[in-house]
């Protein structure tokens, strides 16, 4: 029951990231789950004092991004911008990579390692948007979806390359356990709940109170309108990807101590996030969060009653959900190509 709740919270965080990314960029971000796995496994690598593989991915993406920008600069005959472009695109990723490379063998304290993990994985998000999606911003949802699947394939392959086929379980942040009559409450659950709440409040504050948050919301409502108002949709895309990557990494760090994570565990977790997000029609944050709790509970109940068919039950539950949604909101949006 409590397991279901904590899993549900993690799915909820992922669902929120998915809804955010979809609203802002129209991308169904299948590889969201890979960020979760990357987060958990990066932390595990840091724990063992090894250099986490995503550092190389970060550098590779940064080089790709820089190369692509240099190419357009040279083609349009603006060699003056080269230095600025180099600095802008390379400085931060290289700094982060250097920091991680330096810190990895030091076996620093757990909170520092968590911070490093979050930093590293979050940095992947916007770069991925820049390299892969930016030039495709006007493509149809379908094309974007297939591209996402491409990223998923590549990231799973990379995950195996970086982390190996073994699964890891990271140590928990807080080992205490409390007994309430028949109910055992582990501290890790408390950590998950509190972190999720803090994150939700922070996200809400950012989206309501800051200019960037408002820009994101504007882009979600109307891309063209936002662009005409001087909001860079590309910036909005990068921000939403950064948030998504951050949420993914955080979820990974949170579930790392509770279940063993393999390089390909992320996919199923991400898909469960999708099931949850679909309950909210990929548009509503509160509904997506409720949906996630439902998915988490369904999963823990079905693993209790019919553990063999756990996944089948969870994913098949999408069908009645879709049926229900088709009656509640039969959206017919025409996508003109």
């Amino acid at each position: 029951m409590l397991d279901g709740l904590t899993n549900g919270i993690v799915y909820g965080l992922i669902a929120i990231a998915l809804v955010l990314v979809f609203a802002v960029t129209r991308i169904l971000f299948i590889p969201q789950g890979e960020f979760v796995a990357f987060g958990a496994l990066t932390l595990a690598m840091l724990q063992q004092g090894q250099t986490p593989g995503p550092v190389w991915l970060l550098l590779l993406l940064a080089v790709c991004a820089t190369g692509m920008q240099l190419y357009t600069l040279l083609k349009s005959g603006q060699p003056g911008g080269i230095l600025r472009c180099l600095l802008k695109n390379l400085l931060l990723p290289v700094a982060i990579a250097a920091l991680v490379l330096w810190a990895a063998p030091q076996q620093l304290a757990l909170p520092v390692q968590v911070a490093l993990t979050l930093l590293l994985v979050t940095a992947l998000g916007p770069l991925m948007y820049q390299v892969v999606y930016e030039s495709l911003a006007d493509a149809s949802v379908l094309v974007l979806l297939i591209v996402s699947v491409g990223i998923h394939l590549a990231m799973t392959g990379l995950g195996l390359l970086f982390f190996g086929a073994e699964g890891f379980r990271t140590p928990s942040f807080w080992d205490a356990r409390w007994q309430f009559s028949t109910l055992t409450l582990s501290a890790q659950t408390v950590v998950v709940v509190v972190t999720a709440l803090v994150l939700l409040i922070a996200l809400w504050l950012i989206s309501e109170r800051t200019l960037y948050g408002k820009a994101l919301r504007a882009t979600a409502v109307n891309r063209l309108g936002a662009r005409l108002m001087g909001i860079s949709t590309s910036l909005a895309g990068k921000i939403s990807f950064a948030v998504a990557a951050f949420i993914g990494a955080l979820s990974g760090v949170l579930i790392g101590p509770m279940s063993t994570i393999f390089y390909d565990s992320g996919f199923l977790i991400g898909l469960k996030g999708f099931v949850a997000a679909t309950i909210g029609g990929l548009a509503s944050f509160p509904l997506a969060a409720c949906g996630a709790l439902f998915v988490g509970l369904l999963e823990s109940f079905s693993s209790f009653w019919a553990s063999d068919y756990k996944e089948v039950i969870v994913f098949m539950s999408l069908l009645p959900i879709l049926l229900w949604r088709s009656f509640v909101a039969p959206v017919h949006d025409e996508e003109e190509e």
């Binding site: 169904l28 299948i30 892969v132 030039s135 495709l136 493509a139 149809s140 949802v141 379908l142 094309v143 979806l145 297939i146 591209v147 699947v149 491409g150 990223i151 998923h152 394939l153 590549a154 990231m155 799973t156 392959g157 990379l158 195996l160 390359l161 086929a165 199923l268 898909l271 999708f274 099931v275 679909t278 990929l282 063999d308 068919y309 996944e311 089948v312 994913f315 098949m316 999408l318 069908l319 879709l322 049926l323 949604r325 088709s326 909101a329 039969p330 959206v331 017919h332 949006d333 025409e334 996508e335 003109e336 190509e337």
Partner: protein
């Protein structure tokens, strides 16, 4: 058209190549490769129909392959059925599950289907792997081989014939299907749904049809797979394989049946090469293949979205330019026409219709009528609610209140499809046509409802090309409409290559093909030059003579005044005046609306 067309020539060439492959002493390795390519191609053809033509996508095709394979595996071992009987059983199960899945998801916008198919693919994979009677993850072994009049098809060389006969049949049927009335409707699903509905196409049914067809092709592939391998286990039917099928189609060319074959071949050969090459380069253990596939997929979609086939075609046409198709000038229509109501009878009666979008009242209690054999102009400044009124009459939007009666029947609340069936055709303010299809095909879409065949019968006939007589009649009708509006010399050009004014005329020709009693034209003269406008006015007058009534929105006052019998003026969603052109020109409220009041 007795001479052979390009697709059929290609089909013949492929047949010869395949025959050569088996007749020559080809090593068994290549025969086996060809067998697998054929199996993949079957699934890929379905995906081309679904994704490239219909604009939907599925990651769950591998699961449908799995249903086909497991059905035959179980029935031919545990139940000891003849393998030839398990094929229809597998098709039934697959078709039914695809139908249910499609009914649930296709009602909603596009991205739910791929999500649902992902969930479907994963669920089935786990189900195959967990069910005791399906052998769990070990699967089912010792599946009997196929027997064909005493010939054992267990041998790869024999199986080759069966697989490729089926693949060629699938190609032939799909090509036939696309080159037909049903095919035009299917090609309209991607990016032209509203327009197709207004032409009376039941887009929902065609979507489900495509989804079921794709699933059935996958199921056949699964049946063949089970009897080729003689054993099944869950892993070839996982989601990863579903993704790989989509990958083949993207590589080969997503909008072309031939692209499916090309993609299947390229992927199978590439995957084999990679499996040898990559571990040698990078050391094994790592799943580098999926990285390479993922990256290629992204690069292709970023830089060559059409895939390999269109690229090859470019070469082909440079080597062998295809002969220009003959222009068909058609002066008479042969199709049966509707009975025309008596001139002067009330045809369209709009009573107090209103449309509110939240707090905004776009159309406010507007009433007017169109009599049979009359041209009525609907004019007013921008934002007056004219196009909204059009959408209310044609069923694209539903009125918040009020009624619309047409030819004595109430039509408010009906789908645009049902309204089209009753004889209302329209054009759009923002041209809606299918730019890559030819002008003739675009216009023929308008004649969709002129077919006398039912939905399924028409589809089956189209696949077998048994409906050629009727197809000719429909195309003749389209050619007739084009001749009528003067676009006949462009009939084989892609519709997107026409100038905007011509595209509007094309829309009129398409609407004419519906055999309308009432034609609604939204700014037909916009973008036309003076002489073209005169010609258009002439066409519209002829139509009026033949009994068609016309309701038109237009900003060119000269055009409206010389053509119409009656004018309705709207401003801010309300009707402000109504009368003959002469009365309207003198009407104080109209003058104020257009020129501003005198203070």
């Amino acid at each position: 058209m007795k001479h052979m067309r390009t697709p059929h020539r290609l089909l013949l060439a492929l047949l010869l190549a395949l025959l050569l492959l088996v007749l020559l002493p080809t090593p068994l390795f290549w025969i086996i490769q060809a067998n697998y390519i054929g199996l993949y191609a079957l699934v890929a053809i379905g995906l081309v129909l679904l994704t490239g033509i219909g604009g939907m996508t599925s990651f769950g095709q591998a699961a449908f392959v799995g249903i086909g394979a497991y059905t035959t595996a179980y029935l031919s071992t545990a139940a000891a059925w003849s393998p030839w009987l398990t094929l229809p059983a597998g098709l039934c199960i697959t078709g039914l599950s695809a139908y249910v899945l499609g009914r649930i998801t296709l009602r909603m916008s596009g991205h739910y289907l791929p999500l649902a198919t992902i969930a479907w693919g994963i669920s089935l994979y786990f189900l195959f792997g967990k069910l005791e009677w399906l052998g769990k993850y070990d699967g089912i072994a010792e599946i009997p081989s196929l027997q064909f009049f005493g010939i054992d098809l267990g041998q790869e060389r024999h199986m080759f014939f069966l697989i490729w006969v089926i693949v060629l049949a699938a190609v032939w049927l799909s090509l036939n299907l696309l080159d037909s009335r049903a095919g035009r409707a299917m090609r309209a699903l991607k990016g032209g749904r509203i327009m197709a509905e207004a032409m009376g196409v039941n887009t929902g049914s065609y979507k489900i049809l495509l989804f079921v067809l794709a699933a059935l092709l996958a199921s056949v592939s699964g049946w063949l797979f089970a009897h080729l391998q003689r054993t099944v286990n869950p892993s070839p039917f996982s989601l990863a394989m579903g993704i790989e099928y989509l990958f083949m189609v993207v590589v080969g060319g997503i909008a072309h049946i031939w692209g499916a074959l090309l993609g299947a071949a390229v992927l199978k050969l590439l995957a084999d090469q990679l499996q040898v090459l990559l571990p040698a380069l990078l050391g094994d253990g790592a799943n580098v293949e999926s990285i390479v596939f993922g990256v290629i997929l992204i690069l292709l979609l970023k830089y060559a979205r059409g895939g390999l086939w269109p690229w090859l075609c470019q070469f082909g046409t440079r080597l062998m330019p295809s002969a220009a198709l003959p222009i068909r000038v058609q002066h008479v229509s042969t199709l049966a026409r509707r009975a025309v109501p008596t001139k002067g009878d009330a045809l369209l009666e709009v009573t107090n219709i209103a449309k509110r979008f939240g707090g905004l009242v776009a159309v406010n209690e507007v009433s007017f009528g169109v009599k049979a054999g009359e041209i009525v102009g609907l004019i007013g400044p921008n934002g007056a609610g004219k196009s909204t009124t059009f959408n209310l009459v044609t069923g694209l939007l539903h009125a918040s209140s009020g009624t619309v009666r047409f030819n004595g029947q109430e039509i408010s609340g009906l789908h645009s499809r049902a309204i089209a069936l009753r004889g209302v055709a329209r054009t759009f303010q923002h041209v809606k046509l299918l730019p890559s299809m030819s002008v003739l095909e675009n216009v023929a879409l308008g004649a969709h409802l002129r077919s006398r065949q039912g939905f399924l019968r028409n589809t089956v006939n189209a696949m077998l090309h048994l409906e050629r007589q009727e197809e000719q009649e429909l195309l003749d009708e389209a050619a007739h409409a084009l001749t009528r509006v003067g676009l006949q010399q462009w009939m084989h050009a892609p519709a997107g290559s026409l100038a905007l004014g011509q595209q509007r005329i094309l829309e009129i020709a398409r609407a004419l093909c519906c055999d309308p009693l009432l034609l609604l034209l939204d700014e037909p003269a916009a973008g036309l030059r003076h002489l073209e406008k005169q010609a258009l006015a002439q066409v519209l007058r002829q139509l009026r003579e033949s009994g068609v009534s016309i309701l038109l929105v237009e900003h060119d006052m000269e055009f409206v005044m010389q053509l119409t019998d009656h004018i309705v003026v709207m401003e801010f969603g309300a009707k402000i005046a109504e009368g003959t052109p002469a009365q309207i020109q003198q009407h104080p409220a109209v003058i104020e609306a257009y020129l501003g009041g005198i203070e």
